[in-house]
């Protein structure tokens, strides 16, 4: 448990330092979507490992898959709406400061963000349950 906490603390410090160095605190709209996709990939990989190690049952894993798919679809629609409204981004890959994300895209993004927060709550609850179970054992 001590090693686990230490590892997480070090990992968090590395990420926070990297974010501060690169200015990730203020990414572009598409940059935010990209990081969210990468977050989905990271979470999916983590849970795949968890399922393979037997830490999550099929029901739990299916719930997580449903939430991740919802988030992915929300982000995907957001991306498409934004690029339709801001074609300069699509053509050049450069941010277009003159083009604000359309309201429909922001709404979709907020929905995906809400689903992401729900997933985080679910993960927290699972971790709390595991800690309780481990406490009851020892």
């Amino acid at each position: 448990m001590k090693h686990l906490r230490l590892f997480l603390a070090v990992a968090l410090a590395v990420v926070l330092t990297a974010c501060a160095t690169t200015g990730i605190g203020k990414p572009t709209f598409l940059g935010t979507i990209d990081l969210s996709y990468k977050g989905i990939t990271a979470m999916s990989n983590t849970f795949t490992t968890g399922v393979q190690l037997g830490k999550f049952g099929k029901k739990d894993a299916d719930n997580i898959v449903t939430m991740l798919r919802t988030i992915h679809q929300g982000l995907s629609v957001t991306q498409d709406l934004y690029l339709q409204a801001c074609p300069v981004q699509a053509l050049t890959g450069q941010p277009d400061p003159a083009c604000a994300p359309p309201v429909a895209a922001l709404l979709r993004f907020n929905a995906a963000d809400t689903a992401m927060k729900e997933l985080q709550k679910y993960i927290d609850a699972q971790i709390a349950r595991q800690v309780q179970l481990q406490g009851a054992k020892s």
């Binding site: 070090v10 990420v15 990081l35 977050g39 990271a42 795949t48 968890g50 037997g54 830490k55």
Partner: protein, 63 residues
């Protein structure tokens, strides 16, 4: 011996570090082609999770 929880935590930490490294490599702005690749990778990762879930079947989780 390293326990399963530690392994999961290590995996999570490694993914976070990879995430930050990718973001550093690509800079704050993102090209649309990279964004599309991230979208495809995320969908593939979800599919792998679904496959792992299906492989696991209805067996109860290990406490």
């Amino acid at each position: 011996m390293i326990g399963p929880n530690t392994l999961i935590a290590m995996q999570m930490g490694m993914e976070l570090i990879k995430l930050a490294r990718d973001a550093m490599a690509s800079g704050v702005d993102v090209k649309v082609a990279d964004l599309d690749r991230s979208r495809t990778e995320a969908a593939a990762a979800i599919d792998r999770l679904q496959a792992a879930s299906d492989a696991r079947g209805a067996a109860p989780a290990v406490p």
